[in-house]
């Protein structure tokens, strides 16, 4: 049976949960509260709920975007773009925002189309950055993760899902979130 508070598995004759201490209710209650891991699937689109219709959206093609399409989108948004070939021989995009260079990597690719993006910005501080500040950033801020690399230089990154179900409206919104968060990161730690 399962604890109705924390979902931990418990023995049939247990009266208290060993994990959280909750009193174990009747068998019917705990059975009803327990998730069934084997039966769990990604939730389908709910059919029984009447949802208000949103404004029309432009869907991203099946499979995601090609690197050329991503570059064209950035260009259309007013960002200078260049392609860079990394050590692996794969291309990524360089652009800039908030006065800082940004790398954009496309991932989860099948053929030319990629289902995910990663925005990243790293800052060379010659090892002077106080790594203990990073946890506070990750605790207080949403959307982007921060870490220090092997040179103790700070990085900020954000991953974005393009497909399935991606839209250009969502992409614009997430890019704006990235830009705002990057600006705050730079300002907070004096990284200009």
């Amino acid at each position: 049976m399962f604890c109705p508070r924390c979902g931990s598995e418990a023995l049939p004759n247990q009266t208290f949960c060993a994990k959280c201490g909750a009193s174990l209710a009747t068998a019917e209650n705990v059975q009803a509260a327990a998730p069934a891991p084997a039966a769990q699937a990604v939730p389908p689109v709910p059919r029984a709920i009447a949802l208000p219709s949103p404004a029309p959206m432009r869907t991203i093609p099946d499979g995601g975007l090609t690197i050329e399409e991503m570059a064209a989108w950035l260009d259309g948004e007013g960002y200078a773009v260049k392609f860079v070939i990394g050590e692996s021989g794969n291309r990524h995009i360089e652009t800039s925002s908030q006065g800082s260079p940004i790398n954009i990597f496309l991932g989860d690719c099948k053929g030319e189309r990629c289902a995910a993006l990663e925005f990243g910005a790293g800052f060379s501080t010659h090892g002077k950055f106080d790594i203990s500040q990073i946890n506070g950033w990750n605790y207080d801020n949403r959307w982007c993760r921060a870490y220090c690399d092997s040179d103790k230089d700070p990085w900020l990154k954000m991953n974005i899902d393009l497909w399935p179900g991606g839209t250009y409206e969502a992409l614009s919104d997430r890019f704006e979130i990235w830009n705002r968060t990057l600006g705050r990161f730079i300002e907070k730690y004096g990284l200009r």
Binding site: P35, P46, A55, N138, T167
Partner: protein, 137 residues
């Protein structure tokens, strides 16, 4: 064909219905300050779903959070490696040095249930990997 999420995002009740339709147990929890969030379970692990910035009952994003009570025994310096190596979500320690994993999922503008499902599947994967890597059962 995609199934769009309404403008403004989802209500708490719609999130519950979406989770339950996929076989996930989910319930609304009301905190002392009157604010509500959702408790759900994935692979037997409890996590919370917050709906920040609700307007007219709809939230444009979800924040999924897992926290493990380690009674201060967890070495939080290990989390930098997680954030460096693992895309999606972020790890940190809370005010009592317990390890936490969270992910933000945008619902609006431009959200679809297909994208929500895909990001939720990502959450399930990183949650499982986080628990496994740091032995947080």
């Amino acid at each position: 064909m995609t199934h769009p999420i309404p403008d403004g995002g989802l209500t708490l009740e719609e999130v519950i219905a979406w989770l339950q339709s996929g076989g996930y147990a989910a319930k609304v929890v009301t905190r002392e300050d009157g604010k509500r969030h959702i408790e759900s379970w994935s692979q037997g692990t409890l996590f919370n779903i917050f709906t920040p910035g609700c307007q007219s009952g709809r939230s444009a994003s979800l924040e999924l959070v897992f926290a493990f009570s380690s009674k201060g025994r967890f070495d939080v310096s290990r989390l930098n490696e997680w954030n460096s190596d693992i895309p999606w979500g972020k790890a940190y320690s809370d005010t009592v040095n317990d390890p936490c994993l969270d992910i933000d999922i945008a619902l609006s503008p431009g959200g679809t249930f297909e994208s929500l499902n895909d990001q939720f599947a990502t959450w399930n994967k990183i949650l499982s990997a986080f628990i496994g890597k740091y032995n947080l059962r």
